[in-house]
């Protein structure tokens, strides 16, 4: 083992990886917030807006969802500056992750909204609640609760997709791992630790969403 693995290098790599991990976490948290709000907006718009908004929106969502995140990041990072829109690497990363994942979360919200029983809509109509109130106090509170585990799964997926950001030179954990490996002519320590950190963070989180799923299934 020690022939392949250098504990000293591993020890040196750890602080750098932790620095990167903070960036990774930041990108995940901010990206998730964007994905969740934008996804909800998309889901609502696709339900209530007239067709001149709804149809192009549907195309856009499908287009973003079926093209690679990596190219979308390049577009934000390389193409946008040509049109005078220049953003920092981190902003590009958060926007890219947030927009890409909002196309997934919008489907989650859609399913959640559709799962609200018709009777709830009918009751709101019978009480002659205005559309706004119907959404705010009847439909959304029920829809949002049931989609929580699914949203959680996408947060975990996004967390594991943050290494994409190294392509636009965000210094997240895997970027640091590669850098460290290049400097020390040995990649095994830094990449292995980075992988294990991902595992250590995402496995408990996925157990948690599984428990949430069971919790909601039994209600």
């Amino acid at each position: 083992m020690s022939q392949y693995w250098n504990w000293e290098l591993a020890q040196q790599a750890l602080p750098r990886l932790m620095e990167g991990f903070l960036i990774t976490l930041q990108a995940t948290v901010l990206g998730s917030i964007l994905a969740m709000t934008l996804g909800l907006a998309i889901a609502l718009l696709r339900r209530v807006s007239p067709w001149p908004v709804r149809v192009p929106l549907g195309w856009t969502v499908e287009f973003i969802r079926s093209t690679p995140l990596l190219i979308q990041l390049y577009v934000l990072y390389i193409v946008f500056p040509e049109f005078g829109i220049t953003m920092s690497a981190m902003t590009v990363g958060i926007l890219g992750l947030g927009i890409h994942y909002s196309t997934y979360t919008s489907e989650v919200y859609r399913a959640g909204i559709e799962a609200v029983p018709v009777g709830q809509w009918e009751a709101a109509t019978a009480l002659s609640l205005p559309a706004r109130r119907t959404w705010q106090v009847v439909i959304l509170p029920q829809a949002l609760r049931s989609v929580l585990p699914n949203l959680g799964n996408y947060v975990i997926a996004m967390f594991k997709d943050t290494p994409y950001l190294l392509a636009v030179s965000v210094t997240e954990m895997v970027y640091e791992a590669r850098d460290f490996g290049q400097e020390n002519f040995s990649y095994i320590e830094s990449f292995t630790i980075a992988g294990l950190i991902f595992l250590a963070a995402s496995y408990p989180a996925s157990l948690l969403t599984r428990r949430l799923e069971k919790h909601f299934a039994h209600r």
Binding site: S66, Y74, I78, P163, Y187, A194
Partner: protein, 238 residues
């Protein structure tokens, strides 16, 4: 505008070459992932605890450690630490195959458990052998449930092959990234690449629906025809 058209015509053959490599990567990795899915999905249903445990550890490990880390491990660590230099394509196919196979094994496991218990009981009543039971009764039904999920994962895999550009493979993403460096005309080139990915995704989804239709016909069910741009109708059907 004429400049834009010119640069696209010029980039066309390069783009198509890249798209071919992307498709090759997708299909090769999908074959590996499919094999991995079935092996570990069936292992997860084994009566022996140790076999189920191995399957569980494998899937959690490959799902949990991030695809790019796995690709980098195969590409950077193997040659330096173990003296095994994989061809970049081989590294990409192994990495993508194992990672998406780990997700696919959950699909296989879930679909087989979703076959109603009465079907299992019927096979016992008919005194079918283990092989006959799987081949004739359980799998034909489970596969119908698997295909829509596999279809989603295939699109994910297609998009995932873009990461191969980061381990020096000149597939579509890499072609476009390098083209910009040499020629300018960035927006058009990136736009064209995105459209190519989009079209490939729609064709794959359409092919998977055709497969689903056949699998359903096999067990006496029907699936409506939606055509190439099925997502448009899906959106309408609220």
């Amino acid at each position: 505008m004429a400049n834009l058209a010119d640069s696209l015509v010029e980039a066309g053959p390069l783009l198509l070459d890249g798209a071919v490599v992307t498709l090759e990567l997708t299909i090769l990795s999908a074959v590996v992932a499919l094999a991995v899915s079935f092996i570990f999905g069936l292992m997860a249903l084994s009566p022996w605890v140790i076999v189920r445990f191995v399957s569980r550890v494998f899937t959690e490990f490959f799902r949990g450690t991030s695809l790019l880390v796995q690709l980098f491990w195969l590409f950077y660590v193997m040659p330096l630490a173990f003296g095994i230099t994989l061809h970049p394509i081989a590294a990409a196919v192994i990495g993508l195959g194992l990672n998406y196979g780990a997700y696919g094994s959950e699909v296989v496991r879930g679909s087989i458990t979703a076959v109603p218990p009465t079907q299992w009981e019927a096979t016992v009543a008919l005194n079918l052998s283990c092989y006959q039971r799987m081949r004739r009764v359980i799998l034909p039904q489970a596969i119908v449930t698997m295909i829509p999920s596999f279809s989603n994962w295939l699109i994910q895999l297609l998009k995932g092959t873009a990461l191969a550009s980061l381990i020096t493979i000149t597939e579509l993403t890499r072609v476009i990234h390098d083209y910009r460096v040499s020629e300018g005309a960035t927006a058009a080139a990136f736009g064209a690449a995105l459209v190519l990915y989009f079209l490939m995704a729609q064709v794959l989804a359409w092919a998977m629906r055709a497969l689903e239709r056949r699998a359903k016909a096999h067990i006496g069910q029907q699936l409506e025809h939606l055509g190439l741009f099925a997502f448009l109708r899906r959106g309408e059907r609220v």
